[in-house]
Symmetry: C2
Subunit: 342 residues, 2 copies
């Protein structure tokens, strides 16, 4: 079906494009009769007004920026879509800014604030290890989305929406222990990580402890810092090393699904099978975890709910309805074919 | 390792942040001695200046917009990174705008031109079926990147960088035929597609013809239009229908790797194997094709080269070095484990 455009609507109505635009945007400067006629044509022809363009035009000074670390991380793709929809629904325009792993997101945000006259900021992903002084340099409301915060921050200094990474990580390791696994390797973040990496590692340690399993540091495997973090490639390289080291283990817990897929590939390359030789579990609930062979056992984050709530909190802050707030969503253990009981 | 910021550098040098910024940006208004001292501190401490922020500040009126259809398509993720790097290297700032599948990208571009005083536009992905009149509404140079164009366009009206989708599609189907496959299903785009979907389908038809195989329309399976196109989900749903129809086939050619992965999942769910029961081939050369089990036979597009050349052509147009040009890169047949000879 050919999409019809604003030009087509204008032609059908025998008016100019500007007039159609005025009708759509409720502009006062249009004859009511003309307006109803145009709206009827729009309705009859299922024309979908081009929201992006409209919002860009109307709302130059009403912009929400989303700053994202790791744009190649598929976990964020779904969230970006929801952010855009929710922000446009509020009649704000949406600005997506990628931040490199080695960039300081607050510096980027401060510049953006000036240039774009932002009304609010969403920080998505990444580590977050800024001083309170630094945070106070931001003059517009902001929300940290899916960024686990270590303890050094005072909750009253910022707002956040995420899962409880420690608790959810605990659950999946607890599940592996309950399946009889005692030698569970982890693919973890560098030990100076103070964000989701640390929290998920802490959950792993706590679950082992509660099951009376000693922490074996030989089974704690750190993502390579010269490869993009949380990627399939990183999980692949780390697992190849783990397998080559001949350390004894029956399960691998990767702290993201992408890492878990890389781990599976490394296992296949040594002629071993998942889950027959090694159980592999991930975290996040990416679509590919369902499509992978075997499908990947994971903790699914409620991505859509988190993204919607992020925007809700941000607008509540903008409208001064609330002071800083922290929303925690539960994740869901999804048991699939990549893990087995011993 | 804690990243050091511009504020840290300023403290170490005993100067203000503005002075550090002037040193980094080669601002004339700074004492040469102070400047060398600052640059030495920067070097000694491995401080990486925050390019995004710098460019945002400096180049508000020198912006290149990248308009992308299908931001969730992992094929584009790698390209976006290269675009950003190349554009920043030219000291322009980079603006990423998502375009919905049902949006008119030219309308979006026209609005953006006005708002952002753009110097150039990259259209990435999607169909492209605009009239010449429409294209002439764009007043700044633009390049179509990885958008295959059907014949209705005059090459002198636009510039493009892509692979030859018809020829490369031909190659992979030719390969399947040479492996002895005669009943090759295709997961294709809707028949009114005038872009890469049509070209890849035409390559399929031509390869069959050259091998003396009659086109069997029962084996031509169209992506669902109520599911995002070129996705794993679409390939999964279409392949489930194909398998349920009991049409006889030995190979499935999906016109993207994501579709191919969805196809594999559908095959596994019926208890069949890839490639033992069905060979499956994709197109694009996504990373996941390597990590999938079995790894996916595909036509790999030279993503980095295409992205770099796109920016080069765009700047040649901006600097009026060239008139419209069309760069075609070869793709590479990557034979992996998802296909077998009969």
């Amino acid at each position: 079906m050919k999409r019809i455009t604003i030009t087509d609507v204008a032609k059908m109505c025998g008016v100019g494009v500007t007039t159609v635009s005025r009708a759509i945007n409720n502009h006062p400067d249009i004859n009511e009769e003309t307006k109803s006629m145009i709206m009827q044509v729009i309705k009859d022809n299922h024309y979908i007004p081009n929201n992006s363009a409209r919002n860009l035009k109307r709302a130059d000074s009403k912009t929400i920026a989303v700053l994202i670390k790791g744009i190649t991380n598929p976990f964020f793709n779904q969230m970006i879509k929801v952010f855009e929809e929710e922000i446009q629904r509020k009649k704000y325009s949406f600005f997506l800014q990628r931040v490199d792993e080695n960039q300081d997101e607050i510096d980027v945000a401060i510049e953006l604030e000036k240039e774009k006259r932002l009304k609010g900021i969403v920080f998505l992903g990444g580590y977050f290890s800024h001083s309170k002084e630094k945070l106070t340099q931001l003059s517009v409301p902001f929300v940290l989305s899916t960024i686990g915060m270590a303890t050094e921050f005072t909750p009253s200094d910022y707002s956040s929406v995420s899962v409880d990474d420690l608790k959810e990580s605990y659950k999946i390791v607890d599940y592996l222990c309950n399946q009889g696994h005692k030698k569970i390797a982890i693919i973890a973040a560098p030990m100076d990580d103070v964000s989701i990496g640390k929290l998920r590692y802490d959950g792993y340690k706590k679950a082992l402890e509660d099951h009376g399993i000693d922490l074996d540091l030989q089974l704690v495997r750190i993502m390579k810092d010269d490869i993009e973090s949380y990627t399939m490639e990183n999980g692949y390289v780390v697992t190849k090393e783990l397998l080559a080291s001949k350390e004894d283990c029956t399960a691998i817990y990767a702290i993201s699904d992408s890492l878990a897929i890389g781990a599976c590939k490394a296992i296949f390359e040594t002629g071993k099978k998942v889950p027959e030789d090694y159980s592999v579990a991930g975290f996040d609930g990416l679509d590919i975890g369902f499509y992978y062979n075997p499908s990947i056992t994971t903790m699914r984050q409620p991505v859509k709910e988190i993204a919607e709530e992020t925007i809700k909190v941000l607008f509540d802050l903008i409208n001064k309805k609330i002071s800083h707030t922290h929303k925690i969503f539960p994740a869901e253990l999804v048991v699939r074919d990549s893990t087995k009981s011993l």
